[in-house]
Amino acid sequence: MKEKPSSLLLLFVYAGSFLLLLEWLWPLEILTNTERSGVFYLYAAFCFFLAFMQVYWYISIPLKLLGLLFILDGLFIGEQIFSESWWFVLYDQLSFNIEMIRTQEWWELTAFFRSLLFLVLLWLVSYLLHFWIVIAKKALFFIVLTFVYISVIDTFTPYDGEASIIRTFVIAAVVLGLLHLEREFGEQGEGKASRKRAAWSVLPLIGVILIAATGATVLPKFAPQWPDPVPYLQSATGGIGPGGSGNTIQKVGYGENDSRLGGSFVQDDTLVFQAIVRDRQYWRIESKNQYTGKGWEDTLEQPVTSTDPAAIDYSTVEEGVETETFRGFLNFTEEADFQKLVYPYGTTSIGNLDSAIDIALHPQTGEMETRADGDSVQPQRYSLNYDAPSFELNTLRETPVGGDPASIQEKYLQLPSSVTDRTRELAADITAEHDDRYDKAKAIESYFSGSGFQYSTTDVEVPEGDEDYVDQFLFETQKGYCDNFSTSMIVMLRAEEIPARWVKGFTGGEIKDTDAELFDETMNSYDVTSANAHSWVEVHFPEVGWVPFEPTQGFSNNADFYTELDTDSSDDGETEESPEVETPDEQEQGNPQQMEDQEEEAAAAGTGDGGDAGRIIGWSLLGLLLLLGVVLYVTRLRWLAWYYRKRFENKGDAASFQASYHHLLRVLNKKVQKRRGDETLRAYAKNIDQRFESRDMQRLTNQYERLVYRKEDHLQTKDVSELWENLIKKALS
């Protein structure tokens, strides 16, 4: 513990700031998949406590680090803590994530690592708040930030900030009031009388705050005086063109005919169905196998069989793939008119279906027609059970290219003669440095995220004459939507002898409700619109089955991948789930011709589902970090002064003195008078002293001169730090 114990008032203020920080953390639980958020609150409290007690850094840093490790251990690592395998898991996690950061595959970051970063952030924030409030005695900025944060979160997400705003108001008022008292009385010496006076003056403060808060809560309030900004932002960013449901430009949505892809389309946000499920996921309808050079056709001969809704006989994955069982419920609007089942990966049974409806399954494509009395009908609603597959990355990576059964090869390696040599060369180039199937596929998938490709639903060309659709996109336009991206990826995969097929369906939609009740469980409700129509890629892995990939810019693959950490054990506890990929700027779009996609309004608007909320929080955190950066920059002279003082006190050597002295020069330069390059320190010191009417700077400079020009290492530490502190104070005031 240090020389200057913080006062009781400051303790309250600091506790208040902790409560404010909690207001930042509450929404996380609702808006993200953060589980067991309690430990994060606990850790924040722990850091705050250590910072407030002013524990020496060499004690507090190890303590905080230990706490951090314990939390990560409890949450993620199944091994005996600090055992050999424990360290191995830790190392494995860190190296994996660092590699992902290096390759900028943000979505691959594991929950472990994200938690680690979050804990470190809490640590930094606790330190920063301690500096702001206990040392600088300023809280207004943080309070304003808190209000802004809550308002934004309340406006754009399902989080209800009403109670939060009131709590924040009360805490903020108390904190500001107490800080003011601290400044008023804290400086009048340590006299007991003044302390007592301070204590008494807290009472009216609290009284006023309580009355104001109660009044504000109880009194009737006007409705918002401005229109809800969300629809405006959505329309401003959604790119809804004046064409409306234009004639020459197609409207987005699910369509049947994919034989000629390309062309622009307009967005259509008509609701198609509502899905009540736990997680956001892709909705599959069917796949197609034959690429014609202009589009896709289904040429497989498949006996259409009637299948029992209670036991769907269709699976895209082989046995042995890890799955997790979920249930869901779909409710269609009148807009839905495709007479097929929309289903998530791993669907095992359909329930609540109109008893008159038969399911006609196309076993090759996974298309499930709904028929009644021989006619196709559109079901109004149904529930489903599904075993969502998770793909183990090491298994995928161990799969070489080639060795697929002949039946797969003949159907899914087809390429028309229109595919150009340069397309094949590009595919070979991109995948050259990888050997296995997964990494090759991944390389092609991520090729589209850079290299000048642009996601757009307008101004998209249709190939003319004998031009190839993929060649045109890859080398001419580089501008398009999901069909362009997915088709191009498949053609390149096939050129590399990797079987792949084209899948149509819908993306996960937007979250509407976070506590929909279904089967006694709390689920999320998603709205899927015409604009969510989408196409993506499935790649065949002999021992695994069909694995979805997502090449389209701005979309993320909702499939679950994980890495088996301990290959000796099949215990779940020892596997690390990698998160579903929800990139912050997930932005979905569709294609026009027929089955197409969707656009989920740009980031700004997000009325969040998990992804949107994650995105908003991501942006808010980014914004917060940015703000912190700005604040740190603006106040750098002060906190750097503090830092240099501490450093010099601890070390007392020439290097730290030099650093401190130069910091003083920077402060003086900025606040008092600029030193010309040719001005000697002595001359400058004299000028400064004339301004300050003292001789401190000359005395300090004298010491410094001996250090620089005489190579003297012996310093009169005490004098020096006193002089330095005097000068810094004068300069900063």
Binding site: H662, D678, L681, E705, L707, Y709
Partner: protein, 321 residues
Amino acid sequence: MSQSAFMLNNKISDVIKNINRVMVGKEEVAILSLVSLLAKGHVLLEDVPGVGKTMLVRTLAKSLNCEFKRIQFTPDLLPSDVTGVSIYNPKTTEFEFRPGPILGNIVLADEINRTSPKTQSSLLEGMEEASITVDGQSVPLKKPFFVMATQNPIEYEGTYPLPEAQLDRFLLKLKMGYPTYQEEMEMLDRTSGKHPIDTIDSVMTLEELAAVQEEVGEVYVDRTIQQYIVSLTSATREHEDVYLGVSPRGSMALMKAAKAYAYVYDRDYVVPDDVQYVADFVLAHRLILTSEANFEGVTPEDIVRQLVEATNVPVKRNVSE
């Protein structure tokens, strides 16, 4: 550039006090002359007659208990009038060396540009070599040996201006300047009775002076300062108005002068202020300006000032070592 924040070295301060008792308002020139003396260099004083050059040197000589000699240079002065001459002594039937005025401790070479280059070089040789050659014999000069040469900048008729190479031999070039009104009044006051020079005593012995010169040699010059000196002098060679810049001898001179200046102000290490202060007096007479610059009225002093302003002072410890 005021140096009042510095404290004078004790021994030096006694000398300066003596000079102040005799001279009025000439402390700066006195200190610089001392700097030159302590750095074992010589001074060229460029000024009109009657501003107190002789008095300054005499006071200096008396304070330091030195032998003072004066050579009045005239067009008909011969080298032997400076160095001395061997005369046949009929009693001993041998040639006997009669030392000339150069064999003193402090020599005032008045109006050095009035005499022929041959005679000038007899003095300059002595300044450079610390010995002279008479009748083929080498005669060592006294120690300390300090020449203060003066030249009149006004008269050009019948003068032999010192060649640039010779100017390089002088450590400092100084100007006395006229006293202010008050100072001149004070001067009249002081000299109305007994001349103050007769009232002063010597404050240092020759041995002490030699010891001080040794101490000056030991003043510490940090590498940062050396770098600063070299950046200043090498900058003179690149200035567009300069035809011929400062030679490496100039760099050495700048360092020597800065060391002596630091010593005078009681420091055993050199700070950039020392270098900046003496730079004017050390460098200006070593620069040859282009004829365009001369025509435009640019003076070497202007150039030195510009360069000092353009060169950053080192303010950090040299870490490359």
